[in-house]
């Protein structure tokens, strides 16, 4: 019991909205509903829902880098693509037996993280910040897109994996769980849904612990005033780099899940439109908080999906309008503004006890 309360306490803090029994009861109800959802739906719809879920990791990673750390990375899709292609190359070459797809997942995420560490080293130790960080990261993802786009020829292959240029790489095996009595192939269906949902819960709670830890304290300190943070004895470059790598790994996880979900990845997943979308999700939700980012991402993706079904040509335009409206009306995020509105009657009562709360 004691260990449990200590664990729960680490999930709460000034860096995250939502605390106390009411919030966690709500969390459990939501989780239970998410677990029960496949019972009231069909495999195809559930499989499509997983598609939404795959993007959330990238959104949470950007939330960490941008919302908490104050560095806008415009190129999270670079890590998404690198991990996606890595997963494809590995699994096409080595197959899916003996749970290798999950090893490939780890490797692919590690490759993305390693690339981020290299890029981030030059960015942060070179003291590149602000708008230049956005420009460089965007350039990187566009360069990767252009590069992959010209790999159509048969000479562009790694082992038996053809890169295939703009047509994209396909036919990699989906994630496959080794299971007594036969492997479970995680096609976009109920099983994959539960696996991704579990990952989501772990990542969300893990990030809550991270941002409420001393590390998270330093992270928001850097966002607020990097000079002051350094003059408290923190090597802020290391914190920025660490955050960048974690965010990139999460984008990589999204990339692997996406690739496994559709057994397909193309260079356009690293293109301009793809690079801009995570910024819309995170900004609309409320970048300074993990929960609002999560809710915001799901909401925006649901709207996007609905629009795509009922006349796709306007979906991206609506995304742009949403971003503009957010910047004009609720710069810290629509979901965050809504959360503050809902929380207002509760916080007024205990005004002084809730520093930094909504």
């Amino acid at each position: 019991m004691n260990a449990l309360t200590r664990f729960l306490r680490r999930l709460e803090g000034p860096q995250t909205l939502g605390r106390g029994p009411l919030f966690w009861a709500g969390f459990l109800v939501t989780l239970a509903a998410a677990c029960a959802y496949p019972l009231f739906s069909d495999g195809y719809t559930v499989g499509n829902t997983v598609y939404f879920f795959t993007w959330i990791f990238m959104a949470l990673g950007l939330c960490l880098i941008w919302g908490y750390g104050g560095s806008l990375s415009f190129g999270q899709t670079a890590f998404f693509g690198i991990a996606g292609y890595s997963y494809g190359i590995l699994t096409i070459n080595f197959g899916a037996a003996y749970g290798f797809t999950f090893v490939a997942l780890l490797f692919a995420v590690a490759v993305a993280a390693l690339f981020a560490a290299l890029l981030g080293y030059f960015l942060f130790f070179g003291r590149i910040s602000g708008v230049f960080l956005g420009i460089v990261t965007l350039s990187v993802t566009l360069v990767l897109e252009r590069f992959m786009a010209q790999t159509a020829g048969p000479e562009w292959r790694i082992g038996s994996a053809r890169l295939n240029g703009f047509n994209g790489m396909s036919n990699m095996p989906p994630l496959t769980l080794p299971w007594p009595g036969g492997d479970i192939v995680l096609f976009p269906d109920v099983e994959l849904y539960y696996v991704v949902l579990a990952m989501l819960v772990v990542v969300y709670l893990g990030l809550r612990i991270l941002v409420n830890s001393p590390f998270g304290n330093v992270l928001v300190a850097i966002r607020e005033n990097p000079e002051r943070a350094e003059m408290l004895g923190y090597d802020i470059r290391k914190y920025q780099l660490g955050t960048f790598v974690i965010g990139a790994a999460l984008a990589g996880l999204s990339g692997v899940l996406y690739t496994s979900w559709g057994q397909y990845i193309t260079p356009s997943s690293m293109g301009m439109t793809a690079a801009a979308l995570p910024i819309v999700w995170v900004a609309v939700g409320g970048r300074s908080d993990l929960t609002t980012t999560l809710i915001g991402t799901v909401t925006v993706l649901a709207v996007f999906q609905a629009l795509t079904i009922h006349g796709s040509q306007y979906a991206l335009v609506v995304m742009g309008v949403m971003l503009v409206l957010t910047v004009l009306l609720a710069p810290s995020g629509l979901i965050l503004a809504l959360a503050k509105l809902v929380a207002r009657p509760f916080t007024k009562r205990a005004n002084n006890n809730l520093p930094g709360d909504a």
Partner: protein
Amino acid sequence: MPLIETRALNKRFGGLHVTNNVDLALETGEVHCLIGPNGAGKSTLFRLILGEHLPSSGAILFAGEDITALKSFQRIRRGMSVKFQVPGIFKALSVRQNLEIAMQHHYEPAHLAEEIDKLLAFLNLSADAGRLAGNLSHGQKQWLEIGMAISLKPRLLLLDEPTAGMSPEETHATGEMIQRLNAEGMTVLAVEHDMAFVRQVAHKVTVLHLGKVFAQGSIDDIVANEDVAAIYLGQTTAHATAHQQPGGLHA
């Protein structure tokens, strides 16, 4: 051995020679004030000592160690701490969290909250612990930053105009706080315009003018020095400074 020492320190920005062969030494336990007209190079000297600027030539020694090439955070970890001129606090975070960020690596997690409470009481900010730092009054912001600076338990405390914008009462209270910290062994280097404050705390005063050390000595020596009065009075800004503070140089 001096705690902090600059040897023939020079800083040029293009053709501008902002710090010109400055030799400055502070013994442990000293409260040393740096004064001089605007543009004398006080802030640049501070930034050189902190490592925000690298000198064009010369050396900086901290407790005998050459720290000229060290990064700012490395100098802080060796026992320096700074309070900036414009309050360098984390405005969107609570007062308590500001102190927590400063102190979290200096205390055991179990004792951290208790130590923060102590410091809050010392700073007269206990009632404001939950407020956002950006919503504090100007004087309180200054105190909060002084609190963050001293929470590191530095051997050398650097204060850049610690009383700027404070009322005379707050200024005096700040002076008392510095005297208390000094009594506990902290060495202090302060840039300050308020001569009443300098008189209250300084053991030694260095006057900078056009990037050079112009005069050095006790506050009485400095006030009696007619050349010092001349460089202040020779500038329009000096009039304003002297006018604001009845206890100013030529009083």
